[in-house]
Amino acid sequence: MMRRSGLKSLAYAVLGVAASLASMPVHAQSTKDRILAQKSVTIGIHNRIPWGYRDASGNVAGLQPAIIRAALAPLGVTEVKFVIGEFNTMIPGLLAQRFDMTAAGVAITPPRCASVIFSEPDLTSGDGLMVAAGNPLKIHSFEDIKRNPQIRLGGGRGSANAQHAVSAGVPAAQMHLFQDVESTIAALVAKRVDAVIMSAATIVATMSDPNIKGVERAVPFRGLSDADGNEVALYTAIAFRPADTDLRDLYNEQLKKLKDSGELEKIILQTGFSKDNLPPNKTAKELCLAPGPSK
């Protein structure tokens, strides 16, 4: 039995190595202090025109990256590093400290307010619907979709636009959720779905791609209405980790300056959005408390 002891200690050594695999550096500085000291901020994007994307020269472009640049440059923060991930990893990635702010057009919704804190809203984004060219099924509202159980509606997994369809009462059996915008569009082109719900701004950017054929934006489209009968829109903002209230407050101060000087409007119009997309007269606090939209 003595002969076995060598192997036994080998096995224990193996277990020891396995147990010590994890290592951990510690960050003590606040995120705000680090960003100001290093003059560099890391943002999360989901690589989607016009929201936030990597342009041909490898730099980050799009609406919220441009707003963040304009807001932080006066503070000396000139380097904007970016991390690309799926849209539905933006909040997990932020909380896991993979980046400091999101710049992916994340809309303020009460459930999201439970896990992150938001800046004041910087954009209004309505829903739009894409359908096969000629709109053969004559889809112009969520009611049209509910009325015909054969219609399959595509949308982005984790997107608030798809959530609007659910809130409007589109049954889960008719909903097909995809990982990202291009697979959702590919599903529409391949006739795996009959319609796709996404932000109107995304649709405008998508339709400008010459490779997209055989689909169109459904006009008119009546989206989800709130209790007062107004069409529900999304209000996007920058998300921060709950502990980074000082960073959020600093950013809000800078954002207010951009709003007051008209710089924000200029950025919105320059990055492919229209006057319909200007920020709402609502605060992040109000949007976090907003009751669920009516069915």
């Binding site: 060598g6 277990l15 025109i49 690309i84 990635g93 909380l95 896991a96």
Partner: protein
């Protein structure tokens, strides 16, 4: 974008794919040998612990482990970089499969081999090292080549945690230009060009390792 532009664009991610594969091997090979041998020899509670660790890595879906290690561990204060998470999870998962090839190859050897070693006055470790492992190696090589190819293809999952490998670059291209058929065909060719030479090389290694050993083993 022409097909060639897309293909060259995808090749820009080949360094990350290769890096994750090689780092993954650094986890997979030692894990496979250490835990395969440990499982072969350990008894009682020790064996249960070894088996538990192997099964954790082998029986968990890679995508769940990658998400878990990348997004959840920082909440517990453990920060691992994306490349560490990717190569470790893929490597240990493949290593879990590999450990079973090692154990099976050792168990398949005739008991007489070990007894002959004892008769020559060797201790247990030298018997393992000089008599059992060289013979077992021939039996495990085909499985190892298979697993290497699995690992190369598995690296596509690291695109989910921000690493710019070939799959990630392909997705980035498809996010800006709508051309899924072209882009995914180019990606398919890129992986084939990496995996097929590995298959050929694997066959050569196989022949070399099993040279002069009568029967060939396949699992």
């Amino acid at each position: 974008m022409s097909f060639l532009d897309i293909f060259m664009g995808i090749l820009a991610g080949i360094d990350v794919t290769i890096k994750v594969t090689l780092l993954g091997m650094l986890y997979a090979v030692p894990f496979a040998f250490a835990f395969g041998i440990a499982q072969h020899f350990a008894r009682g509670p020790m064996r249960m612990m070894v088996t538990t660790i192997i099964e954790f890595w082998r029986s968990s879906p890679i995508i769940v482990l990658i998400y878990g290690f990348y997004f959840s561990l920082p909440g517990l204060g453990v920060h691992l970089s994306a490349i560490t998470v990717g190569s470790m999870v893929l490597g240990l998962n493949i290593g879990g499969y590999g450990s079973q090839a090692v154990r099976a190859a050792l168990q398949a050897l005739d008991k007489g081999q070990v007894e002959a070693g004892y008769a020559l006055g060797l201790r247990r470790l030298p018997i393992l090292w000089l008599i059992e492992l060289p013979q077992a190696l021939a039996a495990m090589t085909p499985t190892f080549i298979n697993q290497f190819i699995q690992l190369v293809k598995g690296t596509s999952l690291v695109s989910l945690v921000t690493l710019a490998d070939m799959t990630f670059v392909a997705k980035a291209i498809s996010q800006i230009n709508y051309a899924p058929a072209k882009i995914y065909t180019a990606l398919l060719i890129a992986y084939f060009l990496m995996c097929y030479p590995a298959t050929i090389l694997g066959r050569m290694i196989e022949q070399r390792v099993s040279r002069g050993r009568g029967a060939s083993h396949e699992f």
